[in-house]
């Protein structure tokens, strides 16, 4: 634990400019955190070990996908940057899960990663109050815990007072947000070759881990990996299956809805190929050389992102695996080989890669590697992403044990917002599990922890029918506006859109459809049961039929107003799924009642009669913010929650 005064005694140390907020790491979490802080009026500095790595995608060159696409839409709805930047750098778009239901529709885009970086970097550079600085932070400086008897019994937590860089600069600040990604004590592993290094050829961050441990934070070691990059010119695409984007591009950002600049883009294809028996054989023969199986890798890797050697070992019966070849950008021939992540030695990587159809003569430009890194145990965080051990210290992104650009950006935004709320002396902003995937993500992390890099999945959300990509604005834009991240102009546009949707919904309910030849022939052509004579119905009831969609009814609905694709879709979903959504809303209402029962951090769980021992220990350690959060801690039973309810009422805590 180091104070500014103590740090100043170090050789070469000097006092640099003071800031309100210092953000450590300029990846996807750091960019959102810094933008939120600066846009909400606070002097913010954003550090990167290398300014050419700002907003980098060191692994797959895409943004979105199942659950992740929903996250990006939520980030955008709240006033974050990822969606806007992705729209500007998009080179292919697909809406995943077409026809499987609106709850799982997920936008996913291939991204020109250099373009994304330059868009993001320029946005940062142009933002008032925000300074971008290439420098490696090695110390978090604090004011130690106060033992002033005037402040009551016990000690107050240490409080962030500044950060110190490797070159000796001391930047005083009130809030520090850790967004170090996979850089902390990073180690690159390729076969038996191991060296200290960060992702994508960057320097690692050395020493900051020790500073964090000194502050009482628990660190764990995780691992992840990335596949080889190949030269487009050396691939025989005739042996692969071409995969084009959708004809209709849906931009991530609600600001870009129906804007031809973002919907009329030139798209690039991906390609599909497969592993062969030779690939499998290469893995089997060389398994003893894999650091994963020889025990040289100590970090825990993600199950959902297994290396190719993992796949062959774990699923022995599976003869072949899919491999996608994806472009890295418009101005490069580099191609990403999705599905072939590996930490095998380089010679094995070459032979494995060349065993794939179309790749027999391919040239590797960058090797596959595994990377081990330090991250925080996220159960040491509050729902605001502030650490429980140090006041004013927040953390977001991969350093919290997640994986994925979208998960990182979502956390960065929440950490930035809450740092600002705290600076303003305002109540924290917590998005709950019924409001967004962002809420599910953060609640899962801080309540349950994770023993592998955590990836967002739609299956993790209890209220999936409500948490849709199409209604992210309805769920979060009012909050974004209230916070000040969504402009008045955008908010007005949002309100107008919602008004149009509501009016159209009402019109559909009220407009009667009489049986007649025109109506019935239309219904028959759609494979739908014709109306019986005398049995009129409403447009809404017709739309509720599974086989009928909004646009189908145009011939018998001459009075319909001109609505955007998104608005028409919203009306259709609202009406078609009305019953299911109402049921889910009831579940949400019940969920919220526990969620709104606050638990003070000062509660002495050891003194509550009726709690089981395990529950007492877990509650004392995790200090949940609400009864709802408490109920999700493993080891806390429904009976324990009932006991807590009675305890709260006995003390007259307010009902929600």
């Amino acid at each position: 634990m180091l104070t500014i005064e103590q740090a100043l005694l170090r050789p070469g140390a000097y006092l640099a400019d003071a800031y309100d907020i210092a953000v450590i790491g300029a990846g996807h979490a750091g960019c959102e955190a810094a933008l939120a802080g600066a846009r909400l009026g606070f002097q913010t500095i954003l550090f990167a070990i290398n300014l050419d790595s700002v907003g980098n995608m060191p692994c797959n060159p895409n943004i979105g996908g199942t659950a992740k696409g929903q996250l990006v839409r939520e980030i955008d709805a709240l006033g974050g940057e990822m969606g806007r930047a992705a729209d500007k750098a998009m080179i292919q778009f697909r809406m995943l899960n077409q026809s499987r239901g609106p709850a799982v529709l997920s936008p996913r885009a291939q991204i020109d990663r250099r373009k994304y970086q330059s868009v993001m970097k320029q946005t940062l550079e142009q933002t008032e109050n925000l300074d971008l600085r290439q420098s490696e932070v090695v110390e978090i400086l604090v004011e130690p815990a106060s033992h002033d008897p005037a402040e009551g019994p016990g000690s107050v937590l240490p409080r962030v007072s500044g950060v110190m860089t490797r070159t000796g600069a001391i930047y005083p600040c009130q809030k520090a947000i850790l967004t170090t990604g996979t850089y902390l004590e990073g180690k690159i592993i390729i076969g038996s070759c191991q060296y200290s290094g960060g992702p994508d050829g960057m320097f690692p961050s050395i020493g900051l881990s020790d500073s964090l441990r000194g502050l009482g934070l628990d660190l764990v070691r995780f691992k992840t990996g990335t596949p080889v990059r190949l030269n487009f010119r050396t691939i025989d695409f005739s042996q692969t299956e071409r995969q084009d984007g959708d004809a209709q591009v849906v931009p991530f950002s609600f600001e870009h809805e129906e804007d031809p600049v973002y919907t009329q883009i030139e798209q690039q294809p991906c390609y599909l190929t497969w592993t062969t028996p030779v690939t499998k054989q290469e893995v089997e023969v060389n398994l003893h050389r894999s650091p994963l199986f020889s025990g040289e890798i100590e970090g825990v890797g993600p199950r959902y992102c297994p290396s190719i050697e993992d796949k062959f070992v774990k699923f022995k019966d599976k003869e072949r695996h899919q491999v996608f070849i994806e472009p890295m950008g418009r101005d490069t021939y580099e191609m990403y080989l999705q599905g072939m992540s590996s930490s095998m030695p380089e010679d094995v990587q070459v032979r494995m890669m060349r065993s794939l159809p179309g790749l027999s003569h391919a040239k590797i430009m960058r090797s596959a590697y595994a990377i081990e890194y330090d991250c925080l145990d996220p159960t040491g965080l509050r729902l605001t992403l502030e650490t429980k051990a140090v006041q004013g210290l927040y953390s977001a992104g991969q350093v919290n044990g997640t994986s994925g650009y979208e998960e990182a950006a979502a956390q960065g935004l929440v950490a930035g917002i809450n740092a600002v709320r705290s600076l303003n002396g305002q109540t924290p902003v917590v998005i709950d599990r019924s409001q967004g995937y962002i809420g599910v993500l953060i609640d899962d992390l801080v309540t349950k922890g994770t023993n592998e890099p955590y990836r967002m999945m739609t299956a993790r959300a209890e209220y999936r029918l409500v948490l849709r990509q199409d209604n992210a604005d309805r769920r979060l834009t009012p909050l974004g506006h209230e916070l000040g991240l969504v402009s008045d102009a955008r908010y007005m546009a949002y309100l107008a859109k919602q008004a149009r949707i509501a009016a159209e919904n009402e019109r559909f309910r009220k407009t009667r459809v009489a049986p007649g030849e025109k109506v019935n022939s239309l219904l028959e052509s759609l494979g739908s049961t014709p109306l019986k004579p005398g049995a009129g119905t409403s447009l809404a009831d017709l739309l509720r039929r599974p086989e009928i969609h909004f646009d189908d009814l145009a011939p018998i609905d001459p009075d319909r107003p001109g609505l955007s694709t998104a608005e028409r879709f919203a009306v259709e979903v609202d009406l078609k799924y009305e019953g299911y959504i109402r049921l889910e809303q009831e579940r949400i209402d019940r969920f919220l009642r526990l969620e709104h029962r606050e638990l003070a951090e000062t509660i002495d769980y050891a003194a509550i009669t009726g709690l089981r021992l395990e529950a007492r220990q877990k509650l004392s350690r995790l200090k949940p913010a609400s009864l709802g959060q408490a109920s999700r801690i493993s080891g806390v039973s429904p009976a324990d929650i009932a006991v807590l309810l009675v305890y709260l009422d006995a003390r007259g805590a307010p009902h929600a």
Partner: protein
Amino acid sequence: MNMDRAQLNETIAASATPPGTSGVALIRLSGPASKAVAAAIFRPLSPRFPAADAMPGYTCAPGWMIDPISATQVPLDQVVLTHFSAPHSFTGEDVYEITCHGGTAVRQAILDVLFRLGVQPAGPGEFTRRAFLNGKLDLAQAEAVMDLIAATAGKRAQAAARQLQGSLSGEVRAVRTDLYNLLARLELVLEYPEHEESHDAQADLSSGLAAVMAQVAALAASFRQGRLLSEGFTVVIVGRPNAGKSSLLNALAGYDRAIVTPVAGTTRDTVEELVDIGGIPVRLIDTAGLRDTSDLVERIGVDRARSAILEADLILWLISPPDDWSSEIFRLDQSRVDTSSLDEELDELRDLSEKTEALLLVAGKDDLAASAPLREWLASELPDLPLVPFSAQTREGLPAIRQAIVDRYDRAGNAQADEALVTSSRHKACLDKTLYSLEAAALELERGDLLDLVAALVRSALDNLAEITGDLVSETLIETIFNRFCVGK
């Protein structure tokens, strides 16, 4: 019926009297929707009495319990309804107490109707907890309540653990595993739509769903047999009016329990008696005389008798010589005996003997001269059915009947040892809800390819099942996906 679903979810019911047979039983209903629910299921005996929702607090009214969802709305029982209006009730909420007849079947039927309407089974210490939360208990009692909840939950956990040992546990786990696998397949398709594994996973979803539904339905159906273990062996006495059923019941019970009169149709309702026969707890049920009747009350009794017959572990079918069989006629010429009055009963017996083996024919009034020709005639018409003569006067045949009950119990017990049995009505309610969600899922799967809805319904089925198994769906689900499928980048 217009009931707020959210309010229903907050409304609870449970039997307030202990399980087993008693003269009367009490079912307590509490919560914001209790008024609407009570109004829906209660028909006042006459217009002189108010509807349930018009009853002032602290008053009671006689009437019928009906099932408002069933088409026929056959009364379930005649009851007395007592209303305690909020906040002047035990829980502080609107409370109705239903005083019904003490039979297990009656009580379960009423609870089933409540649960089907959306009322929730009360949790451990739930009434007390609500009483506390609504300020009906003072602060000093708070800790006692917490202890109570902990203790009740502990006991319930022990009981659940016990119940989950043995075959029920195996069956529930099998269902749960199959459901997880099904949901994992669905989620895989939704999570990795571009992955080849998801194409295979999408095939045969509906047959997989149908298979799990059959499992759940079979488990739910085992509830009836499960009661044998928890609530006794059921013996039903059936026969035409005035065949002497009440006399047989009294003989087996050892004292005068039912009203025995020579007027046909005296026993207008089912009468239950819990007796010890050879160390076995036996629920003896005397049914109303089986005959078509225009008397409403009696007709209910008759309907009840028919449903009791189907649920019985052993049926004692009492058949006595018709009154017009005089000994005189038999002596003269047996062929002249007119058996036409027994034809209908004979058909019912033949029909029943095809449905169940648990049938014992008792030739009653063995003290009458006409009984011998009756036995001969029965033996010739129904040669495969075991037949025991019985006389209430001389007690002849009583030991044989008691032995038949013991034999049947042993056989039933052995047969059921291998089957999974659902023995608690809470579990039954969970299984019913599970089945309902799965039926809805199957319907959605059939209607179209909106797998998000199918997945939501399968998930809610698992949530329902989790009330028996107590596990967290999301954790197990993700585990299942990654153990079964090779997906990811």
